[in-house]
């Protein structure tokens, strides 16, 4: 899958999860989704080039996003972890599903 397509898709999926969670400030949420995924997604693809295990990287992305969500959305750690888990699980599963069809 093209890298830019994967990046945009991740931004949209995680924005969808954020929208379902907050149900307001949709424009601000897309901004945050772009920022978060502009940090984690290119770094994930960069580290993939070194043959690092995908599951390990997903786990790292999950951890980094907890931190970013906590800072940007000003949430509690537990809520940030749940939101990060839902966002990353959605993008991971949709990515796998699309990867099989594209």
């Amino acid at each position: 899958m093209n890298l830019i397509f994967a990046w945009i898709l991740t931004i949209i999926i995680e924005w969808g999860v954020f929208c379902l969670f907050f149900r307001k400030d949709y424009l601000k949420l897309i901004g945050y989704s772009i920022l978060i995924n502009s940090i984690t997604n290119p770094l994930l693809n960069f580290l993939l080039l070194f043959g690092i295990n995908m599951i390990t990287l997903e786990f790292l992305v999950f951890a980094v996003e907890i931190f970013l969500i906590k800072l940007l959305f000003d949430l509690r750690w537990k809520t940030s972890a749940i939101l990060s888990f839902c966002a990353n699980l959605s993008s991971f599963l949709i990515g796998i599903a699309l990867g099989r069809f594209i």
Binding site: M1, N2, L3, A6, I34, L35, I36, S38, I39, T40, P42, L43, N45, F46, L48, L49, G51, I52, N53, M54, I55, T56, F59, L68, L71, L72
Partner: protein, 183 residues
């Protein structure tokens, strides 16, 4: 209690990908092999020569004559170090192509009859699965007086720096947002 279970769970999840024991490694899903097409662009300049591609492992990298169109094809064992030799047609001994005596073949290619014109040819390249490259075409302009240096093993794709620049810019924006919020 709950906290310690959570911490143990996180540690287990983190080390799980590294636990492989004696299980053979599966193919790396993050990389793929793409073919390299090697081509001699000025073979017509040497009508009195035969060009032979040859590796250095007996039985696995046997010599082969290069096609008249200059395309260097063939399947060789991955550890063969492949070179191209120019041999004068008058000196060319076709029996060398089928000779199973490694020392004789090696001696022939080390003799003054054969001139090494290209060394360290590669026939495949490993790239990231995300790469849009589907093949590499290497064109060689040979000379009998000088050896064409090997292709650089790693061709830098400067787009890779975007992978680092984009996150750095995004981190800076996050820092600006947070510092403005503090004020």
């Amino acid at each position: 209690m709950r906290k310690s279970i959570l911490i143990i769970g996180i540690i287990l999840l983190a080390i799980l990908p590294f636990v492989s024991a004696d299980i053979p490694s599966p193919p790396n899903p993050t990389v793929k092999d793409i073919p390299i097409e090697n081509h001699i662009s000025n073979m017509d300049d040497f009508p009195e020569y035969v060009f032979v591609v040859y590796g250095d492992i007996p039985g696995m990298c046997s010599p082969k004559i290069i096609d008249e169109d200059g395309s260097v094809s063939g399947s060789f064992y991955k550890f063969c170090v492949i070179s191209v030799y120019a041999v004068k047609k008058s000196d060319f001994d076709s029996s060398i192509l089928t000779n199973n005596d490694y020392s004789q073949v090696q001696e022939y290619f080390n003799s003054s009859k054969a001139v090494k014109v290209i060394e360290n040819l590669d026939f495949s390249k490993t790239v990231s699965i995300t790469s849009t490259e589907d093949k590499v075409v290497n064109s060689y302009n040979i000379s009998l007086n000088s050896l064409v240096p090997p292709e650089p093993k790693i061709k830098r794709d400067y787009k890779i720096y975007l992978y680092l620049i984009i996150p750095i810019v995004a981190i800076l924006i996050v820092v600006v947002i947070l510092s403005k919020r503090r004020k």
